[in-house]
Amino acid sequence: MPFIPHTEADIATMLDSIGASSLDALFDEIPADLNCAGLGGIPPSLTEMAVTRLAHGRAAQDGFYSSFLGAGAYEHHIPAAVWQIVSRGEFYTAYTPYQAEASQGTLQLLYEYQTMMASLTGLDVSNASLYDGATALAEAVLMAVRANKAGVRRVLLPDTVHPRYRAVAQAMVKNQGIELVGVPFDKASGITDLAALEVLAGEAAALVIPQSNFFGALERVDALTDWAHAHAMLAVAVANPLALALLKPPGLWGEGTQTRGADICVGDGQPLGVPLSSGGPYFGFMTARQALVRQMPGRMVGRTVDLDGKPGFVLTLQAREQHIRRAKATSNICSNQGLLVTAATIHMALLGPEGLKNVALSSHANTRALIDKLVSLLGVERVFSSPFFHEAVIRVNIPVPDVLRALRAQGILGGYALGRDYPELGDCILVCATETKTEDDLEQYRQQLERILSRRNGRDPSVPPCAYK
């Protein structure tokens, strides 16, 4: 069937056969005040050439910056082969296909993705991805509440979890009678305060544990996991998947011999081959222990054999899903991100465990080197004492917006101003240096910051402005 919209003649024939005089007459039962009179604000049509020119102009407005901005989305090198392969027609779809088992290649890829994520997080099962990291956290909260046999609808959500994730989770669960309880962080170390947890103890279905946390700091995940389990809560990890190439996987968190590790792990898959793209689309991931598999939302691919004993891939455990269970499905809004997962799978396959570890290590090393350089300046200090992954917080002695604006003018995105989310950290910047940064980039940042601080603090500027312009 050719994909051609109805012609005038088609429409006339159809209207005639059902006895309507016109399209308006067909829809006249819709009250007039519900009809919108056309879309306002849509400019006249443009030619392809004009649109291309317009789009290039808009893209150029982004500029070319040396970025030290992280806060949940990270600039990493993506091998050219990744998106070359993803763009092949066989892979180029956003969703798991509707006639799933006819697309064995797609299912095999998703199965391999799930295997990689289960391995990276040290847990038994993975779904085929979710919408993004924030909604994945919300789904994990809902999952933990469903799994709680005592019907407890309260989840402990530390203030060190990404503020946007917390806002999305709150939006998704607040009208379902689920209470999210904040847990303060220790002002000296920048990690979740175990003493504060003790005060909050009481019934909860889960404790959320970020690693690394929003400040880049490494939480005491073993102690937090054990604490959660000792208080009959599930331990829900929110992890940067790249950090897991270096750190203990959530499935092994906890110190006792009886520990079972974190029960669920979620996060944003963006660091695994997804470009920044002004904030999205990215993809969320979710893995869990086998015992929780029936509470998992989203699609899941399994490996099986056909009648002749040949291996094949199928969508599995579908009784959790909305086309089987309707309103009682584990989720009705758990969009996945097939195309980005395809990129992540190819990215991880190209890098391999060692390559991924090297990226993580050099990101960590770069951030350490940068922080050392910056805190050597007068007027800059480190804020938290905890070890960090590839992001850390600095405090500056002149207003943060001025610092970031001045750096930007020199072609440097200096980091994320924390005051918006943490008023008490109004003089603080969250700084990130991934493996994409060279020694020269780090030095440029130091020199420019030194110049800006000296000027504002009334000392002679030692470095001329110019650098990246």
């Binding site: 046999k149 029936r294 009784a319 959790r320 089987i324 269970r325 009682k328």
Partner: protein, 129 residues
């Protein structure tokens, strides 16, 4: 189709058996397991949970669908058949032996309100049309 005469039945296809110790065993009927097909998973209520009559309290999952199981009468759950976790297919093999959970009835008179075998057979017949 097998509908034992000594059991009580619900419109939602559970069976209930009053045991000698006064507790009531609950399972799903032969007809129900036939509709659902091969069982792959059973989720039972936790022991100690207090159920109202008609309350949704368990799930049976087959290769085709997942279905809720309702408490035939009010009571407290005193046992759950853990054997079904590893062998859910026993519901297909012998649905009246494969009890899912046992209740201590709040009021055993409620059992009289359930259908007997004859009424249940008629109910199944009426649903077929």
């Amino acid at each position: 189709m097998s509908i034992p005469a000594d059991l009580k039945y619900t419109k939602t296809h559970e069976w209930a058996r009053l045991e000698a110790d006064g507790h009531v065993s609950v399972g799903i009927t032969h007809h129900a397991q036939e509709l659902l097909g091969d069982m792959v998973f059973v989720e039972n209520p936790t022991v100690g949970r207090k159920l109202a009559a008609g309350e949704e309290c368990a799930v049976v999952e087959s290769v085709k669908a997942a279905s809720d199981v309702y408490a035939p009468i009010a009571g407290e759950v005193t046992a759950a058949n853990g054997g079904l976790e590893s062998a859910p297919e026993s519901i297909n093999q012998d649905p009246y032996a494969a009890w899912m959970f046992k209740l201590k009835p709040s009021n055993s008179v409620e059992l009289d309100g359930l259908m007997n075998a004859t009424s249940y057979a008629a109910h199944v017949e009426s649903e077929a049309h």
